[in-house]
Symmetry: C2
Subunit: 204 residues, 2 copies
């Protein structure tokens, strides 16, 4: 399979979520323009994305929701379970634990890490919270490959170094500190302050 564009991967995740929801409502088939309307994008974009993963629909009924959901899963899910750690169990870390809880079958949060003794050793939102001193141990023991960084800004770089040394393969950095993971891992950064400033700028 040719490498999928980043934006297509993002949309596939979103298609799947609304497909699951439509399926729960008893819907069996969906047209590209219906799926597009649900996400406020164009029908062409939907069809092109679906084409890129090699799935085909029918001219009469559009796409079979079950089948399409499965096709998307075959592309974006790993064959094996991917294990995730939340590094930093503050408000943001807790929010993510809540969101991801039991949602995806192939992506499971196996551990949270913090320094606060009121959090370490406890179970938060169903996830065991360890002291960050145990980072390497737990990552290796639990075979965790993905880390979500929600530590304070000044901890981002030292913690990243430890994550990479422990063999982490993907990092989602919610810290305002830019980090570098080359060539060991895949990195996605998201900065809330920047997003707010962007909205402020374009809504002037």
């Amino acid at each position: 399979m040719k490498k999928l564009p980043e934006k297509t991967v993002e949309r596939l995740s979103q298609y799947r979520r609304v497909l699951v929801k439509e399926s729960e409502n008893g819907k069996l088939h969906i047209y590209s323009h219906e799926l597009a309307a649900l996400l406020h994008i164009t029908p062409v974009q939907v069809r092109r994305d679906i084409m890129l993963i090699g799935h085909t629909g029918t001219l009469r009924k559009g796409y079979d929701i079950q089948e399409l959901t499965k096709s998307i899963g075959n592309i974006i899910d790993s064959k094996t379970e991917q294990k995730v750690a939340i590094v930093g169990a503050g408000n943001l870390g807790k929010a993510i634990m809540g969101y991801l809880k039991g949602k995806r079958t192939k992506l499971t949060i196996k551990a949270a890490f913090d320094v606060n003794p009121e959090k370490t050793g406890r179970v938060i939102a169903g996830i065991r919270c360890y002291h960050i001193d145990d980072l390497e141990d737990i990552i290796q023991k639990e075979n965790i490959s993905i880390a979500i960084l929600t530590v304070p800004a000044e901890e981002a770089i030292p913690v990243t170094d430890r994550l990479l040394a422990a063999g982490i393969k993907g990092i989602l950095n919610y810290t305002p500190t830019p980090i570098n993971v080359q060539p060991h891992a895949y990195l996605e950064e998201y900065d809330m302050i920047t997003s707010i400033e962007k909205v402020a700028f374009f809504s002037k």
Copy 2:
């Protein structure tokens, strides 16, 4: 001024943050390659962005940090204060209140909204939390123009309708539900689950 590219606006926000930090460290001037290294991007991109806002540096010393910071502010900050509401005072809402607290002078959080009686009427992270029934009242009274949506997925659409009716000009939607604000406001959507699935996919 010609319309700035979205990505340039995002980076300007980030340049400013690291410039402020370098300035606090006593640094007075900075070269494009230094600024680029701090953000892990290329020096050309830095120079091009700076060119787009009409700022110029010097061949000897690069950019004057004070001046550049001011130039960026002149472009991305509003002349008048822009007021922000956090709609949904859960973990994510609280995280954002904490991050934004006292950071930017022209962007101030004026209110949070929730339905939970344990939160409404109280002050959280220095921000007054109102019941969502008072949404329209407070937005108008406080002249709030930007909303950050952190309500549960099923509330996103009804709450958005109320925000637009109340005259909100920009929405940052952290809900997994896609919303539509045309033609009344500017919209930015960010979906954490999608980001995590993207990292999972590309780190396979």
